[in-house]
Each structure stands twice: as C-alpha cells, then as structure tokens.
Symmetry: C2
Subunit: 431 residues, 2 copies
C-alpha cells in the first residue's frame, strides 16, 4: 500500500441524470467520511462547470439522514452539465484543483465524463501535480465499454418493463395497436428491456425494434399486420434511435419531410453538431402511428392505433431497481477505496461473477479502456440478443437483464371456467 | 328489508381502464361469494358487448389468491369497451339477461356506463322484469357528478405527482424549460395533481394550465419567460384538452394547421364524431415546445426546451394510491350490499365526511343524478382551485387531492455550508 495522499477531494456529476446517480454520490460521501487524510470533500455544482467556477458544496459533514434522503432522490443532487470541456477549460480545472489542494477527483458520469477524467488525469501527470482521478460509471443507456452493465440502467429498464406490464393490460382490455418509443440513441438496451414485461404467452411487446438493426417501414407494417391477425392486437417497442437502410435516423427523416412540406424550420431542437434531439419529441411516435393507421386501416376500419413516447420519465421517475440502487452506491464507495489502495487511476467497472445465479463485484479498469481514442467508443446490444428478423429480442437477454431489474409487478387474470373445473385463471409465471 | 331477489348476477367493466378498476371487480366478487341467493356471478367480457354476445366468465368460484392478484393488476381484467349501446343493443342486453336469469347487474365505468345502466334499468322496469342495476364509478378524469371523487383518480394523480417529482429534479439538474402534457379532455383534475409534487419553494410545476380556462399562446410565452427569469428554469403542466378563446381545442388547431401546410390528412385519429384523439399523440407537446424555442430562443440562444406527453402511462402504470385501491374495492363491495338492502337502483358515490382529517363513506345515489339528461353532465375543476390568472392551482386543492394520493416520494438536497454550520441541506417539508 502506497502512503496516503493528503489533501481535499472533489466529486461531480455529469450527463443525463438517472434515479440512482445520487446513490453513487452518497457512496463517495459515506466512504470519504471514514478517512482523515481527505480533509474536505467538495461537491462541484454542475460538474466541470462548478470546478471551473469554484462553485462547491462541502459534503463531508452531511448527517446520515440527509445523505439517505438524497441517495433516494432522482437526478444529480449536485446539478449536472452537458458542457464538454475544451483545452483552456482543462487548464482552469487544474488551476482550481491546485488552488483548493484537490488531490482526489471522483467523476460520476458516462462516456464523455470518462474522457474528461482521462484528459484531466494526463494533464496532472504532465504537470507533476499528484492527483487521483476515478470515474464512476452512470448511464441509463447501458452503453459503456468494459463494465458488465451501467449503474442507472437497471432502474430505467425496470421503469420500461413496469410500464409495458400496465400498457399490455390496457391494450388487452381495449384491443388495438399501441406503439411506444423508448430512449437509446445508438444502443437498444432500454428498448430490449420491454421484453421483461411478458408474463403470458400472448403478452406484449409483440415486436421490438432496436437501433442496432435498420428499420424498414414496409416490413414494420407487415410485422404489425401479422400480429394483429394472430392476437387481434399488437404492442410494439421502438427505439428512438432507429435508422433506415442508408443509416439516416427516422426521426431526422420525418422532421425534415415535415419541415419541407410545411415550409417551417426549427420545429425540433438540434444540438451544436446539427443532430436532432430525439428525446422530448413525439414526432416518431406520431409518424409510425400514422403509417399504421393509413396502411392497416384499409383492412380494418375500426382499428385503434395509439402511440406514446415514454420520454424523460425513463430516467427520472422516482422508482428504482433495488439491485441498481445498491450497485450504484457500491461504485461510489469503491471509487474511494480504489483511490486509497492503489496509485492507479481508472474507472470503476461492474464485473458479473460467472455462475448460474447473479452476483457482481467491482474492478478498477484503465480510463482509456472506457474512453478509448478509437471506435467503438460505446457498447451496442450484442447480436446474440437480437432475433434474426431484427424485430424481436431473444430469451438470453432475460438472463442478462432480469437480475438487474429485480422483481416486477405480477399480473393475474380470469379464464373461462369449464364445467367441473374449480376455477379458471392462473398465477402469472415469469417466463 | 325486502325479500331477496334470487337469480344470477352480471358484472362488467367499460371505458378507459384504470389501475384500480379490478379492485372494484374484486369487491363485487368477494361480496357476492358471501351470499346464496346470487347463484352465479357472470363476468361480461368487454362490457355490454359481452352481455350481447353472451360471452361470460364464471366469477363466483375464483380462489382468493387469484382474486387478490387480479385486484392489483392494472386495466379491466374482464376487458373493456368503448361501444355505446343503441336501441336494439339494449333489447339484446335485456334478452341476454332474461335468458341467463340475471337479476343483478353491476356496471363499473364512467359517465357513459351510468347512462347505459340507467337505460337498461328503465327498460327492465317497463318490461316488468325485476332487475337491480348498480353503477360503480370509475374514471381517472375525476369528472363524475355527485361523488366527491372517482375511483381511479387518486392513482392517476399519484402517478402524475410522482412523475413531476422526478421531472422537477431532472429539470433542476439540467436547467431548461420542460413542458408536460397531461390527460383530461374537459376536466383539469389530473393536470392539477402535478402541484402535489412541490416540496421546496422553487420546485416545479411553475405553471399549470387546465381546460377550464382558455389558453392564449402569447400569454403562455410571457408566463414562461417570467419564470425563467426568476428561477433559470421552468417546469410546466398543460392539459391535453386546452382550448383557445374561441373554444377550439389547441390540438385540433395544430393538427389542422399541420395538415393544411403539408397537404396530408389523417395524421391524427378522429372518433366517429370527428373529434381529434387527444391522448396518444405528441402534437401539442411538440407545438408548444416549438413556440417557446422560437420565441424565447431569441433572448437566450442556449435555451434547453423539452416536452413530454405522459400518455397512457397515467392510467396504466402499475402503481397505485393505497386509498384509491381501498376505496375502489369498497365501491365494489357496497354495490353488492346496496343491491340486497334496498330495492332502489343507483350509483355508488364516495362521500367525504366533514372534518379536518380525511374520512370517506359511500352512498347510493339515483342514476339520473350521475347521468342526467341535461348539461352539465360532468364535473369540472371548481373555480376555487384555479388561480385567477388561469395559469396555476390554488393551495386549497392540496386539501382536496392530497388524501386521495397519499404518500409521495420525498426528496433531499444539499445546500451551501457556511463556516460554523454543522451541515447544509434540509428534509423536504411537504407544503
């Protein structure tokens, strides 16, 4: 064990919040409270922005009741940021660290945060400024490299699976076609989680489209038609990030077509790279519902078609997977432990232990493995989880995602009683 | 007490499902199981459609474990219907009742169901066919006459309030303007429930627009601008049913404008009366976000504007208010009790007992009071709950709706620590 580096610590949160991101924060605070060599723990308001502006909150002396209440509060308690630091920002960050004698930096975030952590780490080394930099993973998208899964994903997946359980019952009660658009710009993990909702043979989602496969509208119409013929209804999960065969995002196509026809631009927000904002717009949902209504409505005049975009509820609804909450806390705690036990910097990764039942530990992995300089920089839904036709998810995915989500509401139902039978109905077995 | 009418009973569910509609069904089943004079309890599949088609499920011999699982399962377990019976349908219904010796009819539904129950009741009387008809109220919209509130409302309100708690934290972490469209075609009860989310002085929703007041876009832009100036962010609740000063629905206006510009009709579903389908489309959300982006974006170029339409999750997400679940069960049980203790037909109403803390009982009220022949046929959000400017909800509403929703997740936060203070932050007091 190397001798302990004395000084202060900074913790920050960045990127899209999750409902368990404060668990990681609480884990860092709890762990730091145990030690004397970290004198002050400064919470940076809105991530790197707070570091640059020296906007800090003293976190070491928070009472445990408050800590627990914050831990179970959705969305970054310190505030978050979408700001990607550039060269002179990094110099300001290092200056701020020097000024406040910061020797430990814990950064809770996704891909971009791991990259920022890596740059800060390198600059400190070059400047011979001794600094431990530990990245703590977080993203509902579940697309970080190395780690088995990401803190935040299990809770988002649980929200989606729960929502589909209710939506499937609703669709059963008033049969029709229901299309739900789910988050995930490039990775289909959140959308795939909808399959966890299934408890009965004819339960939805009946079709699942992820961004890892190109999306063809004609085939979509055909797929939906077949399910409607079979079950008299159809529940569909579609990722917001789906692209056409040419690799163009469908939301982009639909918005451009809409704007061209209406002669009105700027209806949907674009980022500084001109990428269309996929979440927080109902465009894709309305478009797909319209297509189905026009195409299948010819066959069946009383066809009921509805579409919802689950939107920001997926990352902010105040309910969580217990496993996810606990693992997020663990990642925060372990970040502090790793910073003491080794002079390695890195990113905390969750490592699933091989075996039949679920168990997971952590490991510190090099920052450049989580934020590499070359593609692929993120993880996609593995091929083995996607049905060959590209319109459904394979059962193996349940083994992967089931334990991360934990218990889900179970449904009951009544069946036709035949003479002599004691009763109809069944307890919903998890498939 | 009159002598007990011997025969069979039918129970049905109609209209938009809720997450507690099966509690009322379970209440009916449980209560009927106690008595011998009701020989069979037939569950009509998809309401009046099942009665006409003699599509029944025997419900009296369901084991209690199954009953409880169904009770906590969202959306009408018997299936629902939007079919409004016409003259010859009612004759078929009466024929079906005669054929199956049905002497008790319990109909769980909203306004339309109360009306249908009333017609069936009258026809049976005219035909000298002895029949007890009891309507059991259900609607998330909370717009039924007479009853203090409607089974189903508390759970929808709880979903909305919970969602806003998370959304407010998300909006605080990444400040910007967030607009959420909520259900409620003509009544603002669901939208008003968003105010229950507030726990801190600067918490959102900061603006609430209900269909009981006309909605002016220019004033909306002004309102949002003021809040952004004050808090640097703004969280808004808007009812899907808002209308302009001329009484035209905004969704209708936006869709018509969109269709006129694009030359493409049929993008949004209309019902048989030509009314636009308000739920299940993101049109209004995207329109309002676009307006804010265009108008306020001039002042602030990095303005973050997002909009979500909560959609069908409001009535189907598998979580509930305990009070609502219990009262829905009670209404089902009491329907059966009333059918035995009196020869009056009617609708079960929830009656709040006067006093400071919450207590509620039931009462059987005449069907014509719940489904009158003349306007108003539904209840609106009372004037005393709506702020004078028409853009917010008054505190008195908390007294009305709070007990129906019950406990909500509490949030924690860290505040700046000043020297000498033990700690910053506070336990979120309910306001």
């Amino acid at each position: 064990m190397t001798s302990l580096l004395r000084g202060n610590a900074v913790v920050g949160q960045a990127g899209g919040p999750t409902v368990v991101i404060n668990q990681s924060l609480a884990g860092v605070i709890q762990e730091v409270q145990k030690y004397d060599h970290i004198e002050r723990l400064l919470g940076a308001r809105h991530g790197v922005v707070g570091i640059m502006q020296e906007d800090f909150i003293d976190l070491k002396r928070q009472p445990s009741e408050m800590l627990e209440l914050v831990a179970y509060t959705p969305a970054s308690a310190l505030g978050s940021t979408r700001h990607k630091p550039v060269d002179k920002d990094f110099e300001r960050i290092l200056d701020s660290f020097r000024k406040h004698n910061v020797r430990y930096f814990f950064y809770i975030g996704g891909n971009d945060s791991a990259e920022a952590a890596q740059i800060i780490n390198k600059m400190a080394q070059e400047a011979n400024y001794e600094l431990r930099v530990i990245h703590i993973p977080k993203t509902i998208d579940n697309d970080l490299l190395v780690t088995d899964h990401c803190p935040g994903y299990g809770s988002a997946a649980k929200f989606v699976a729960s929502a589909f359980i209710g939506d499937n019952q609703d669709n059963r009660a008033l049969p029709g076609i229901k299309i739900n658009i789910l988050m995930g710009r490039d990775a289909g993990f959140i959308t795939a989680a909808s399959i966890l909702a299934r408890q009965r043979e004819d339960d939805g989602p009946h079709l699942i489209y992820v961004p890892e496969r190109s999306f063809c509208v004609a085939r979509f119409v055909e797929d939906v038609g077949k399910i409607v013929d079979k079950f008299g209804r159809c529940l569909v999960a579609v990722s917001e990030g789906i692209r056409d065969e040419a690799g163009v995002r469908w939301t982009q196509r639909v918005v451009e077509e809409m704007e061209a026809r209406s002669g009105r631009a700027g209806t949907v927000e674009t980022d500084s790279f001109g990428n269309i904002q996929l979440s927080g717009t109902g465009t894709l949902a309305d478009y797909l519902a319209g297509v189905i209504r026009n195409e299948l409505g010819k066959r069946k005049s009383d066809l009921r078609v509805r579409a919802d975009t689950y939107g920001y509820l997926q990352r902010s609804f105040p309910a969580w997977s217990e496993v996810d909450a606990w693992e997020s806390r663990l990642c925060g705690q372990m970040a502090v432990s790793y910073s003491l036990e080794t002079d390695q910097d890195g990113s905390v990764a969750l490592m699933r232990l091989p075996g039949t039942s679920y168990a997971c530990g952590t490991q510190l992995v090099p920052l450049q493995e989580v934020a590499p300089a070359t593609e692929p920089k993120t993880k996609s839904l593995p091929d083995e989880y996607i049905a060959q036709q590209g319109n459904y998810i394979m059962d193996q995915f349940l083994v992967y995602a089931g334990p991360l989500v934990g218990n889900l509401p179970r449904v009951g139902w009544f069946e036709q009683v035949k003479t002599g039978q004691a009763y109809g109905g069944g307890l919903g077995p998890r498939q």
